[in-house]
Amino acid sequence: MNVIETVNLTKSYGKARGITEINLSVQEGEFFGFIGPNGAGKSTTIRTLLGLIQPTSGRASVLGKDIIKEHKAILSEVGYLPSEAVFYTGMRVSDILKLSADLYKKDCSAESARLCERFQLDTSRRIEELSFGNRKKVGIICALEHRPKLLILDEPTSGLDPLMQREFFSVLRERSAEGTTVFLSSHILSEIQHNCTRAAIIREGKLVTCDRVENLSKTNAKRVTVHGDFKANGLSGVRDMQMSDGNISFLYSGDINELLTRLTASHINDLSIAEPDLEEIFMHYYTDGGETK
């Protein structure tokens, strides 16, 4: 079953912002990454799925339910962490967690206490006293405490220190192992690369590509780094060339034999040829619009 499925989902605002004909499907149990820079439409997509905003055209279902007609039933099984976790001032952390649980009509006190312990969150503090990172933790616990079938996380790690990020991802992996579907929206590629099985890239409101993470990082291009007397001039398929004292580094997608011939003809001290990482793929999709490979 597809936990998230969108068909030509479009949301247009007055100006250029919004999303255009997004077709996305996320299967049950997947750890799915949603990558894109700020303003690409990640949050708009998520907010449409959650019924906070109405789509202009197209349709979508979450957990097999229509996002408009069965919006309430969807929300009872989804845990959502907004990119900016904002709560009512004047309330204590414990009040917020209780309010959230009450709105889900569930008693989450045991799970909530366990999570607070893991994230080292003091529930007696007032919301307005909390740092950005601590507010984020409150959001995380609100998203997790009712044990939802689908977790939708919008830039979840901003504000968390590295230890907390590690703890957070270990909780996510546990949940994922128990069968929870995780939809992780982020612009931090390493997060996606280390955790997700599949990912989609969104750019200026349009889905650029959607594939398994290892396929996304596997293109015919290689990252070639040469130390020595080597000139890449005249080779076809060279991109993103960087030179620094005696080092030359570039992405190569031409004929590998041609490259080897040129290399044997030169006097070189050191050489590495590696798969480009996701970051480079990402830059590739963003800098030249994903039109060339």
């Binding site: 907004p82 309010l99 709105l103």
Partner: protein
């Protein structure tokens, strides 16, 4: 019920401050009556000869020398205006504040329908208004008893009932506006309440502006009319309740489909 409880808890501080202030000023005014009673004949003559100013506050038809005459004018200005401000403020913020404070995303990503959010918020606003009026009414009655005046039950009851209806009408209209607003809502609420108050005064001064009574809810809270006629103006109240119903209906129509910022 969860949202009603939450709303009431969130609004507790402002509720207590408004209720205490309004009750305090009314009680002070009531306590001033015995001292002023003796001088009232002179004051009454003066007040009734100030031309349009006299008419504006209905002082041409009320006797300042009687307790109810004095009370209808004092109370009209304190509970009328204070209550109107309170009702307008809490109603106009009810839906808009969630977006202004960015808490809408938290609330609406929980499994609650928009209809339930609107209904429970509306209920919370009405509960606060009714509760405030009941508390003020009880304290007022107690203070009248304390100065040893005979309590004019009927007139007092009618006056306070008309203020309550006026506040509920204003709240309904502001609640409707709240669904359309995201920021700057408080100013609009206060402005609306003030405007309604002055519309009534203008309607009192000139006969050609009498039709304003059909617009402003202050039209049926006129102390002079209520005390001299011994009843409320059913037509004006009915019209007011229609305005309120329109406001509330608009809030549902708008907020159910609203894109949350």
């Amino acid at each position: 019920m969860t949202i009603i409880k939450h709303e009431l808890r969130q609004g507790k501080k402002s509720f207590l401050i408004w209720t205490a202030s309004i009750a305090f000023f009314i009680v002070i005014c009531v306590f001033m009556f015995p001292e002023m009673k003796g001088e009232m004949d002179a004051v009454s003559d003066m007040f009734s000869s100030m031309g349009s100013f006299t008419a504006a506050f209905g002082m041409d038809r009320l006797n300042f020398g009687t307790f109810i005459g004095f009370y209808a004018i004092e109370c009209g200005n304190i509970l009328g205006l204070g209550g109107a401000f309170f009702a307008a403020l809490i109603a106009i913020g009810a839906l808009a504040k969630e977006e202004k404070d960015h808490t809408a995303e938290f609330l609406l990503s929980h499994p609650v329908s928009r209809v339930r959010v609107i209904s429970e918020k509306l209920a919370a606003v009405m509960i606060e208004i009714v509760l405030m009026n009941v508390i003020v009414y009880l304290l007022t009655i107690a203070s009248v008893a304390a100065i040893g005046e005979e309590i004019p039950w009927k007139e007092m009851g009618l006056l306070h009932l008309s203020y309550l209806l006026m506040q509920i009408e204003l709240a309904g209209i502001c609640f409707g506006a709240s669904a359309f607003l995201t920021r700057g809502s408080l100013g609009i609420g206060l402005g609306l309440a003030t405007m309604m108050y002055f519309l009534n005064i203008i309607g009192n001064i000139t006969d050609s502006a009498k039709f304003l009574k059909y617009i402003t809810p202050f039209g049926y809270t006129e102390g002079a009319d209520i005390v001299s006629e011994g009843k409320l103006d059913a037509l004006l109240i009915l019209l007011g309740m229609v305005y309120m119903a329109v406001g509330i209906a608009l809030s549902y129509l708008r907020y159910i489909k609203k894109d949350i910022k």
